[in-house]
Symmetry: C2
Subunit: 330 residues, 2 copies
DNA sequence: ATTATACCTGTAAACGCTTCCATTTCTCAA
DNA sequence: TTGAGAAATGGAAGCGTTTACAGGTATAAT
């Protein structure tokens, strides 16, 4: 590995001049620049990032914390983030926590040690206090999921409104017994909002919620299947299912098929996320698209502002528009 | 931000001692350690990573280059990598190129500037020469896909053998007209091997390949659909489809359904990847599982050896075992 | 000819940490 | 009592950059 000194020596200039050439600084004569460039090429010189970054205020790295990469729901969000990053000379560090607090803390050290300039929290296991503490000292933005009463800004959609209108549509079509299929109500704000909207919409029309009180259920397909099975045992009158994710909706669908029901003739399904799963299964699923790309893009856009202006710490609570895709399942 | 000097001053020790405490070095008396720890706590001191890393040989960061995160096929690979990383105090930088050479080069600079210690190439657009050059100077390992005649090591599976035995099973079941649905044969080694095996297996039984000569086709669902449509027009006698990915197989499935065919009664499908898609659609797909987790895990394990021992540069060509999941589609 | 200005270049001081080496102090065996 | 070895600590030299500052030269204006 050659260093800037060797380049300077070979080009017969000072290291300052080499640095100027590397950073496209003006005030370097064409001939000198030429000489330096030649020396760089001859030595195959690559500036050492650590040396440079030690002197600079920022590293240009952003940390994304999410549960795992295997949920296609996150894909457009990450794409939006990356698109903005790409256009703004930033790099993105995607780190998966699998809901493990150790891993999360491990990665948060990257923020605290100034390895990264800011944090995009797509999912987290932090308490409100922890997040506040973090937000006080470092640029942090929550994406999609958020802690409602926390000081940290977030970009999300109005899950309540989306869920409410979805349920009302079902009711208008004559459904009375609508089940709520979810992955635990405890922590996640999106699920909470959906549940609240579901209850409110039913109450408005004097209907009763049908829901299983689960303690700890997994996300995903299997979970949708088992909950459907359980609920149908107790409430055979159910004609519609509200799934909090379309992967769960896939589980519902398969369980219904196995039990001999037709969708949407016998039972309807509505869901969230509008991932590729929605259109991969038969029938296609009615699903809410949260416009993850925009969510990701704008989150980083705002985070960048926070990074560049320490004084700019206003809490932002942004709800972007969503789109309901009505398909065959309802 | 407080620095190590301030901590040293407050604790009335030298910076050397503070550094020893931070790095859990021995040879620090309990009382001194206590004092330093107190000072650290009082100042909320966080060591600056850049300062430390400038002095150290390695950063503990690994770069993963892949096309995009929205293919569930990559998920277990990444998980395997992360699992090893986690257990070995390394960090993983997941970067998506979307097949864009600019983005790729941008990220490769992280390697060249020693921001990361090594590179795991899951997909790439590099030529063999470029990769050789890279491999000569930095620790690089290819995962799943690889350039066969390159100097860089790789961990993959024997796609040829897997494909060959799949096709033979179809032939044994009486299929004669077997179509090959792919996303372009040009670059990707896995597709090339599959195609070669497909042809060889057919030839062995005196059968003719059925394939569309495409120039530039997209991966994925849509592509599977259109190719199926085209091929069936010309070759209505086709009774089985070999899909190079299970997402394409999903496209085939839907196209067949739309045309009124039943799977597997009228037509059979076999595919690769064994992602969640394989079991999400009806009927479930016969698919080859490449054991991505092991592939990822062992790749990083080997990469780590290369990082720690510059002299260790033997080319490794590793084929791990795969599993064929026979399901309803064939 | 003189001065002001713009442009180019170099010197050297950071940036925040680790670690080699030297020094001091302490413990224990001879 | 002495000396050797171990343990604890500090001094200071880097690691490879960037950049403030200063100096030097050429050009243009007076």
């Amino acid at each position: 590995m050659s260093t800037i000194d060797e380049v300077a020596f070979l080009a017969k200039v000072s290291v300052a001049t080499v640095s100027r050439v590397i950073n496209n600084n003006t005030n370097v004569s064409p001939e000198t620049k030429e000489r330096v460039l030649n020396a760089i090429a001859r030595l195959k010189y690559q500036p050492n990032a650590m040396g440079a970054l030690l002197r600079k205020e920022h590293t240009g790295m952003i940390l994304i914390l999410l549960h795992s990469v295997d949920n296609p729901f996150f894909s457009p969000i990450v794409q939006g983030i990356e698109y903005f990053a790409q256009s703004n000379g930033m790099n993105v560090l995607i780190c998966t926590t699998y809901g493990d607090k150790n891993r999360e803390n491990h990665y948060l050290d990257l923020l605290k040690s100034h390895f990264v300039d800011g944090l995009l929290l797509i999912t987290n296991t932090l308490t409100c206090e922890e997040l506040n503490e973090l937000n006080r000292n470092y640029p942090v933005v929550q994406v999609v999921e958020y802690l409602p009463d926390c000081d940290a800004s977030y970009f999300s959609i109005d899950f309540y409104q989306a869920a409410f209108s979805l349920v009302e549509r079902l009711i208008e079509k004559g459904h009375h017994d609508i089940a709520f299929i979810h992955a635990g109500l405890a922590d996640i704000v999106s699920t909470k909002k959906k549940y609240q909207a579901y209850c409110d919409a039913l109450k408005k029309h004097n209907l009763e919620p049908i829901i299983e009180d689960i303690s700890e259920h997994a996300f995903g397909y299997e979970s949708g299947r088992t909950m459907t099975r359980e609920l149908l045992k107790e409430h055979p009158s159910i004609t519609a299912f509200f799934a909090t994710s379309d992967l769960m909706a896939c589980g519902i669908l398969d369980e219904l098929r196995d039990q001999g029901f037709k969708v949407p003739q016998d039972k309807s399904i509505i869901s969230f996320d509008n991932t590729i799963f929605s259109t991969l299964v038969q029938p296609n699923l009615t699903s809410v698209d949260v416009n993850g790309f925009q969510l990701g893009y704008q989150s980083l856009e705002y985070l960048k502002k926070r990074i560049n202006d320490k004084k700019f710490t206003d809490k932002l609570e942004v709800f972007l528009p969503y789109v309901i895709h009505e398909r065959e399942s309802s």
